[in-house]
Amino acid sequence: MEIIQLLIGGVASGCIYGLVALGFVLIYKASEGVNFAQGDMMMLGAFVALGLVNSEYWALPFIPGILLACFIMGGVGYGIDRFVVRRIFGQPQFALVILTIALGFVLRFVAGAIWGFTPLVLETPFAGQSVRFGGLVLGYEDVITIVVTAVLTLALWAFFSRTKLGLAAQAASQNQMAAYIVGVPVRRINSMIWGLSGIVATVAGVLYAAKGAIDPNIGLLGIKAFAAAVIGGFGSLPGALLGGLLIGVVEPVAARYLPSGFSQMSPYVLMLIVLTTRPGGLFAQIHAKKV
């Protein structure tokens, strides 16, 4: 029973890693680079939601408040691409890595300047409630996390495989020049994907905030989400989610059964094992260059 309890908790936190990892993958698809500010976008999303919902700030009702937060963060994501990232369009990926690291610092500063560096708690209507299921006691927030992640993943999958815009985005991600030539507005689509990843980050942030206090440094969680995205193979949406779940499960299990200190490294050890055996991740998308 204990192990199942452990696993479900792991799956719930794994969902959050998975969602942040989804954000990485989205941007990897759009800009062909890693957004090292994704964790900080999640952090900012959580704070924006907190600022809209909590009673000492705007005190909006929960659901509309979250939706508005998603909308705002979508705009932030769009804006980051439109006004900053687009300017380095065509430079090597390394430039994007550095640029987004710097953007992460900026976002952290913004959050710290507005909401301070002391941990705050997001007021949720389901705080502290739990459901009993057989002999299991499940936190409400865990159940909601799992459900929301499943729904969001399905929606993203449908978006990319069913809608015209999603297909155009896929085309743009596979070959920018070719997509441009056949009339895909590559730049605008890239900005939209950044907006989308802002929304996904906000959802992840809200789910994270539902489980505990947040401060401007929670963005460092992004590093763990990298591990998730890498394990899945950058560029694969289901892979990212799977990687997140794996990490989410491995961590509490390692904490339970291994000496202290090892659980902190377990996600990265897992990632290095995957990378050494399959350098492109579990769902590799790297192909050899044709000469």
């Binding site: 990897y28 062909e32 680079g33 890693v34 900053v84 300017r87 380095i88 369009f89 065509g90 430079q91 090597p92 990926q93 390394f94 430039a95 890595v97 550095i98 640029l99 690291i101 710097a102 953007l103 992460g104 610092f105 900026v106 952290r108 500063f109 710290g112 300047a113 560096f117 596979q174 070959n175 920018q176 020049m177 590093i223 990298f226 591990a227 890498v230 950058f234 560029g235 000496p259 200190g261 090892f262 902190q264 490294m265 996600p267 990265y268 050890v269 990632m271 290095l272 990378l275 050494t276 350098p279 492109g280 991740g281 998308q285 790297i286 192909h287 050899a288 260059k289 044709k290 000469v291």
Partner: protein
């Protein structure tokens, strides 16, 4: 504009084509050597710090700038250097042996890591090194008997041939020691770039397929680059340990890795000079912010000290500015200005126009 008339292959092979250039380097070295007599204790300590950063920057530069591999975990190699050096010295090994061993340990560890890492490219490698950093950090805490764990450890002061090189008691001596190490490494680095090994690094950076077709063992080359890079960074870490004197794992945080990346990118990727330009910037900016803050506080009464994280913000903004407006870094800007002056009034705006590589995709390599 001076034109060097090359009359033999040696002109090309030499580090400096003529005595004018050699004289400039010699003058710079003399100036650096005389620095302890010219400036006070505080600025000498800052200069030492800058040199150590430049050393670490050179370590990362050879990896990022010359072989095109990104590492976000170089703080880990600095930590290894610092802990091995301090650990050996605590055990009674003299500095002259402990210091090279520290570099060797970091280098060997780097080369070992490189063997699985060379199969990865770009972003995967960056993240793998980041993961490595986290693992090393945790290991330092776990290996408490050796490293002092969270409590930290003390780097003994350096004694060489009966002369004291303690960072506090005799800062000038310590500064000269650092200067010698940095000069030697710079000289070796410059040698590397004019030799077959350095060219093979560039080959691997620009096209792995054709490097293979030329008979370059890509895996081995990358392992050598990694080893050299980590070794030099380890040396810098050891010196950093002595400079800080008492340190724990927090000294070598992820921000050190990021700062190192700043050093190489803002300084100018692919140039030795870039590491120095970057190091100067990264040590000077906090000073300037402090001066500015005190000035504003005294004159206008605005207390910027109350805004937390302001220096990181300023760093971040400088970085964004460089990436967008001057991707070749400070050294690139310097080259452009020099060309402008030399060619005046014939310089054209688009002389340094970059070629954009829209089709460069990581999914193909």
């Amino acid at each position: 504009m001076r034109v060097v008339f090359k009359t033999s292959y040696d002109k090309d092979i030499d580090l400096h084509p003529d005595w004018w250039d050699r004289g400039k380097i010699a003058a710079l070295l003399v100036l650096m050597a005389l620095l302890p007599f010219l400036v006070g204790e505080y600025y000498l300590a800052e200069a030492t710090n800058t040199l150590i950063w430049a050393l670490a920057g050179m370590g990362l530069m050879v990896l990022v700038g010359h072989s095109g591999q990104v590492s976000l975990g170089h703080a880990a190699f600095m930590a290894i250097g610092a802990y091995v050096d301090a650990g050996l010295m605590t055990a009674g090994v003299p500095w002259i042996i402990a210091f090279p061993l520290a570099g060797l340990a970091a280098g060997c560890f780097g080369a070992l890591v490189a063997i699985p890492a060379v199969r990865m490219s770009g972003i995967y490698l960056a993240i793998a090194t980041l993961a490595l950093f986290v693992i090393v950090e945790e290991m330092i805490i776990i290996l408490e008997p050796l490293t002092g764990g969270v409590g930290g450890m003390f780097a003994p002061s350096i004694m060489l041939f009966g002369i004291d090189f303690d960072r506090y008691a005799s800062l000038s001596n310590f500064y000269w020691l650092v200067l010698v190490v940095v000069s030697l490494v710079t000289w070796a680095y410059a040698n590397l770039l004019r030799s077959p090994t350095g060219r093979s690094f560039l080959a691997v950076r620009d096209s792995e397929v054709s490097a293979r077709a030329l008979g370059i063992n890509v895996t081995r080359t990358k392992a050598v680059v990694f080893g050299l890079s980590c070794g030099v960074t380890g040396l810098a870490g050891a010196l950093m340990g002595h400079f800080i004197s008492f340190f724990n794992y927090e000294l070598f945080s992820i921000f050190i890795s990021i700062n190192l990346l700043l050093v190489v990118t803002i300084g100018g990727l692919g140039f030795i000079q870039g590491a120095f330009f970057g190091a100067i910037l990264i040590t000077a900016v906090p000073q300037m912010i402090a001066i500015l803050r005190d000035g504003l506080n005294a004159t206008v009464g605005i207390d910027l000290g109350s805004v937390p994280g302001l220096d990181t913000l300023i760093f971040a903004v400088i970085l964004v500015g460089f990436i967008i407006y001057e991707p070749t870094g400070l050294y690139g800007r310097w080259l452009k200005m020099r060309a402008y002056v030399q060619l005046f009034p014939l310089a054209r705006r688009d002389m340094f126009r970059r070629q954009k590589t829209y089709l460069k995709t990581e999914r193909m390599r």
